[in-house]
Structures are given as C-alpha cells and as structure tokens.
C-alpha cells in the first residue's frame, strides 16, 4: 500500500454526477488536473463541494459516471481535523506514516512548524494548530493526489505560507492538488466555479423517486 515513489499522477473527471442521500447535487462535472498542477474549486455553501471531494476520494458512490483514478492514490483533508484528543502530534503523524508506509514525520513536522508542539496531545492544540496537524498528514500520506477542503480555515498568515510551500513542493514532485476555498486559494492556480454544474432537476433517488 506504500505510495512512496508512485509515478506522478494527475486527476481528471468527466461527466461525474454526485449527490447526498440520493439527492443529486452536481451533474456533468468535468475538469482536468494534470500532474504537477492544482485547481481551486469554488461554489456557494451547500453546493456540493465537500460531497464532490468525498466522491473523488471514493467515500461516496457517484450517482453518474465513474472515477477514472484509483482512490488509493488520493489523500483527503476534510473539514474535520480527525485528531485524537489523547494522541500527541508526533504520535498522530507517525501513525499515519506507518499506515501509509512512508517515513516523513520530521519533514511534515518541520513543514508546518509543529516541531515544538510534537509532544502536545491533540486536546491541547488551538484550532490553527489542529489544522496544521491535519495538513501535515497529507505530507506523510505520500499520496500523489491531494484533495483539500477549505484548508486555510483557522490558519494564520504564517500557516497559509507554510501550506503554500507544502503545495508547491508537492506539485514540484509531480503531484496534483484539488483545493476548495471560499476566499483566495493559498497558491495561484486556475479557478473553477462549480455553480455551473448544479444539478438541474433534483431527482430524488431510490427511496424518494416521484413514484406516480
């Protein structure tokens, strides 16, 4: 399962339809993120950005179309930080490093200035510190496709700089990244407004089809 040294990969989506609880949200989503580039997605609250990322990560089944990439190649930073209150930053990161079969903990700690906090339990972190830890997980995941859901939330200027650097480094290594932000993306990259894909006729799914 190790992702070290996997060939650089891009991400391309064609005609994907996604939804939540049988309710379609976006339809015909198509875009292309070549290896070494990033794309930033935009859209109103509740449009379906998170659902799209979850679908690309293989967590939700798509309503239409299929994934052209192997979800195994994806690392996903969600709204939730997913830290354990009783595990220290170092423990968390080395756990994820083990799981992904990589060994980049020091690199990740350094990238987000967490070295000083390495022995802090998750419960004793501030919001921004938690977010940095969650982002550092992407580094240790060693996977080529990064999906970031509002990564800059709770990050101060320094943290956003660190995120930008980490992204640059990742892209330079031939990885690709998909960013969802409401403000300005941390690195300058092409923007895509998902509003154009909003599912026209809300069709309701197995249990709620208009049955007459």
């Amino acid at each position: 399962m190790s992702a070290e040294g996997r060939a650089a990969t891009g991400l391309s989506v064609a005609g994907l339809g996604i939804g939540r609880a049988g309710q379609p949200l976006l339809s015909g989503v198509s875009f292309d993120v070549p290896a070494g580039t990033a794309l930033s997605l935009h859209g109103a609250n509740g449009l379906g950005k998170t659902t799209l990322l979850r679908t690309l990560a293989g967590l939700c089944p798509p309503l239409a179309g299929t994934l052209l990439h192997d979800p195994e190649t994806v690392a996903y930073a969600a709204h939730a930080d997913g830290l354990k209150a009783t595990l220290t930053v170092a423990e968390t990161l080395s756990f994820w490093a083990h799981v992904n079969g990589t060994a980049r903990v020091p690199e990740a700690l350094g990238a987000y200035g967490l070295t000083a906090l390495a022995d802090r339990p998750g419960a004793a972190l501030s919001a921004g510190q938690r977010r940095r830890c969650a982002l550092a997980r992407l580094v240790v995941s060693g996977r080529p496709i990064w999906l970031l859901d509002e990564p800059t939330a709770a990050l101060d200027a320094e943290g956003q700089g660190q995120l930008a650097d980490a992204l640059e480094a990742h892209l330079a290594k031939g990885g690709s990244a998909l960013l969802v932000t409401h403000g300005t993306p941390p690195i300058d990259c092409p923007r895509l407004d998902l509003g154009t894909f909003a599912a026209r006729s809300p069709r309701a799914g197995a249990f709620a089809e208009p049955l007459e």
């Binding site: 609880a21 239409a64 299929t66 809300p202 309701a204 197995a206 249990f207 709620a208 049955l211």
Partner: protein, 252 residues
C-alpha cells in the same frame, strides 16, 4: 474494480426502482388477500372452537391451538420473509424489497406476541405456569427480540438507503445467529413443549384429522392475513416516500 461495480449497481438502483409496478399489482391483489385471510381465519378458528370435540388430554384448552400454532408459524415465516427481502435488497437493490422487509417486521412481531400470549395462557392450565425456560419458548422470545432490534434500527437511522443497508445486514447476520441460538437453546435445556405436529414445519404429524383440518385452514387464513397486512404497510411506506419527495422538491 470494486468501485466501478458499486457505481454500476447504483445506476441499476435507479432503473430497478420501479414501485409503480408494485403499487399496481398489490392494488389488485390486496382485496383478495383480505377476503381469503379473514374468511379462512374465521372458518378455521370458528370450526376449531365450536365444531371439534375436546382433546382427551388437554380438554377444551386445546382450542387455543387454532390461534397459537398459526401465529407461531407466521412469526417464524415472517422472519424468513425479512431475510429474503434483505438478500434481495443487497443483491438487486430494489427499494421495494427493502420496504417490504420493513413492513413485514411489525406484523411478524405481532404474530410472535400472539404466539407468546396464547402460549402463556395455554401454559397456565397445561404446565401450571405462565412461563418456563423451555428451549422453544425461549427461542421464540429471542425471535421477538430480533424483530425489535430490526425495527429499532430502522427507526434510528434517518437516511432510508443507509437504513435499508444496515438493517439488511442485521437481518442476515441475525438469522444465522437465530438458527444457532435455537440449536443452542435445545442444547441448554430439554423442554416440556410439544414436538412439532404440523406438516409444513416437519414431515409427520402427531395430531389427528379432527384437530388438523381446522388447524390447517386457520393457518392458511393467518398466512393470507399476514401477507395482506404486510403489503398494506408496504404500500403506505411507498406512499410516504412519495409525499417526502414531493415536499422535498417543493422548495427546489
């Protein structure tokens, strides 16, 4: 790979979801089922109560048999139906099958309770006690618990598709353990409950025709009643879904 398969089955999900047909044929079948169910039940139970002699051993209490046994059998068959629906849903992902499974549970539970109550009432004169930890009685009680768990899980999860998946898994795993515990219960305590006497349950029968004929009729009646009730509930489920969609889409 796996995910493609999954997404495909999701596509099937939409085209297979055809409750319209279901509503069609059930609409036709339901009145007949009602008629048969009520008619046969009244006939069988009435015959059993008023036109058969008393049993030499059990006296007039034997008449409870005409309610007790059919309900007991329906209780068991109801779980089989749930099991079948669960498989159908997981394999073909037909919403209707999930809804039928959901609809069958409460009916089966009621049958189970009737079996328990009549049994208890019967037990008082026969065994001199309302309840004994007889293996069959116990496994019947456990059956009731399985029904309750299945229903509670449906209640607890709001997303119907997720609920259908999880309850189906529960029903399948549950029935494996139900069989196992039935066996375990016998292993644990030899009971005083009569051996099975009904052809459908096992081969040979142990009670004579004067009792058996009305019993058979009553069982047929219960069967049809069971089906009628289940289909009725399933139809209301489907209608409920309709309502939810239309209200959900109203603002959109």
């Amino acid at each position: 790979m796996g995910r493609d398969a999954k997404s495909l089955s999701m596509v099937n999900l939409w085209q297979y979801a055809n409750p319209r047909k279901f509503m069609g044929w059930t609409g036709v079948a339901l009145p007949w089922l009602w008629a048969l169910g009520v008619g046969l039940t009244v006939l069988g139970v009435g015959w059993g109560f008023f036109f058969t002699g008393d049993d030499f051993r059990m006296g007039s209490t034997v008449k409870i048999l005409y309610v007790h046994v059919p309900s007991a059998l329906m209780a068991i068959n109801g779980y089989f139906l749930m099991f079948a629906c669960a498989l159908l849903w997981l394999i073909r992902r037909q919403p209707v099958s999930a809804l039928v499974g959901r609809a069958a549970a409460p009916v089966g539970l009621v049958m189970t309770l009737i079996g328990l109550l009549t049994g208890a009432i019967w037990g008082q004169p026969m065994w001199g006690t309302w309840w004994a930890w007889d293996p069959r009685l116990t496994s019947f009680l456990i059956l009731a618990l399985f029904y309750l768990g299945y229903i509670a899980l449906w209640e607890a999860i709001s997303d119907p598709e997720l609920a259908a998946d999880l309850t189906a898994m529960l029903a399948i795993v549950g029935s494996v353990f139900a069989v196992l515990s039935r066996y375990a219960a016998r292993f644990w305590n030899q009971g005083l409950h009569q051996g099975t006497s009904v052809p459908v349950a096992t081969g040979g029968r142990t009670i004579d025709d004067t009792f058996f004929l009305p019993l058979a009729i009553a069982m047929a009646g219960f069967l049809f009643l069971f089906l009628a009730l289940t289909l009725l509930r399933a139809r209301t489920e489907v209608r409920l879904r309709r309502l939810q969609v239309l209200t959900a889409q109203a603002p959109a």
